[in-house]
């Protein structure tokens, strides 16, 4: 299991601390870029994140412009499973709000990408100017049946 933040998930933390689950914690920006690199055909990149910490142990480091960087490799995944707001039968995807987060980075970052969409529309319905991920990155697409959107931290203010 590769992840960047597992806080607020007590069961996960227990499994990790007891050794039941093998977890590799990765800085969030590095995780995003390892996906993007896979998506973009870049085998590796250098980032300053994690330099001087246990995350950099055993990794190649190099100085650029007076600052130390750590070499990170692109992910090599078999499946990428993403969720989008709207999609068409050509696999073009549009995300909503901050739900673009890792969905847009992971689409196409594996051998096979499977996209679940809230609304699947015929080809030609979506405006090409508004596509976030072109269909070339998506291998399978389907419209989900039920979207119960749970909110983990419901924060509100009074009127």
């Amino acid at each position: 299991m590769i992840s960047s933040y597992v806080g607020e998930n007590a069961e996960f933390e227990r499994q990790m601390l007891s050794g039941e689950l093998d977890v590799e914690l990765t800085p969030q920006g590095t995780l995003a870029e390892k996906c993007r690199a896979a998506q973009a055909g870049i085998p590796a990149f250098f980032t300053p994140a994690g330099y001087g910490t246990e995350v950099a142990e055993g990794k190649e480091t190099r100085e650029f412009n007076g600052k130390m960087h750590v070499m990170e490799l692109a992910y090599k995944a078999d499946f990428s499973i993403v969720k989008a707001w709207k999609g068409d039968e050509a696999g073009n995807l549009i995300f909503k709000g901050t739900a673009r987060n890792f969905n847009a980075c992971m689409a196409g970052a594996a051998k096979i990408t499977i996209a679940e969409v809230e609304e699947l529309v015929p080809v030609g319905t979506l405006n090409p100017n508004e596509i976030h991920i072109p269909g070339i990155m998506v291998n399978r697409i389907f419209q989900g049946e039920k979207f119960e959107k749970r909110i983990e931290q419901r924060t509100v203010r009074q009127k």
């Binding site: 800085p27 920006g29 419901r154």
Partner: protein, 218 residues
């Protein structure tokens, strides 16, 4: 001694007109409430939004519009959404002017530890390692001592590091400290807190020059 709100108020004074600011979870989140209203500031959340506004009114929450702390938020006019790779790109490229985050320990050379207590607590680093490695201006908001009464302002961090030599300033309930090439410099003390109180609560050495002014909070 300052409350958490007061710490946030003091840090809000560091936010300047035109800044893009990233706020961490906890005290840093409160800073947004106290930034002057006559200046223009945009808040970035690393999951992928610029132009974050206040929490939504009850009944107007949207599960698809949240901050990095997974809290429901609103967006202000001029806001934008983007994916997480792009978001950390703008952080790495130093487009974000100020990063405010919490910490478990800070050392006199600017090292910070805030993501792991071996064998006890492992939440993960989230975006903290990327933020501290890239941001030019990093302010830490935290309590001066931990629950056991031990100083969190140290000569050397004891916990696994999040980043090295990166913190510029620390604001606690007792003091404002600047990290200089020679170590922690005491800039301000909290109301009704003496320099001696601060020295007593601090494991690291402090550079103290002249009279130390009292913080102005408001």
């Amino acid at each position: 001694m300052l409350s958490k709100e007061d710490i946030a108020k003091r840090i809000a004074q560091e936010v300047k007109d035109g800044y893009y600011v990233n706020l961490g979870i906890g005290i840093p989140t409160l800073v947004a409430n106290y930034v002057r209203t006559d200046i223009s500031v945009e808040f970035q959340s690393e999951n992928g939004v610029l132009g974050m506004g206040p929490f939504p009114f009850e009944g107007e929450e949207d599960a698809d519009i949240i901050n990095a702390g997974k809290q429901t938020i609103t967006t202000l006019p001029g806001a934008s959404f983007f994916d997480s790779a792009f978001s950390f790109g703008m952080i790495r490229a130093q487009k974000v002017d100020l990063t405010i985050l919490g910490a478990m320990e800070v050392s006199e050379n600017g090292d910070i530890a805030n993501w792991k207590i071996p064998g006890k607590m492992v939440k993960g680093m989230g975006g903290a390692m990327d933020l501290v490695a890239s941001a030019e201006n990093i302010i830490v908001a935290m309590m001066h001592v931990n629950k056991a009464g031990e100083s969190k302002i140290l000569k050397k961090c004891t916990l696994p590091l999040t980043g090295v030599g990166c913190v510029k300033k620390v604001v606690t309930e007792l003091a404002v400290l600047e990290i200089t090439p020679k170590g922690f410099k005491l800039l301000e003390r909290a109301p009704d807190v003496s320099v001696e109180d601060i020295i007593k609560a601090t494991e690291a050495d402090l550079i103290i020059e002249g009279d130390i002014p009292e913080m102005s909070i408001n």
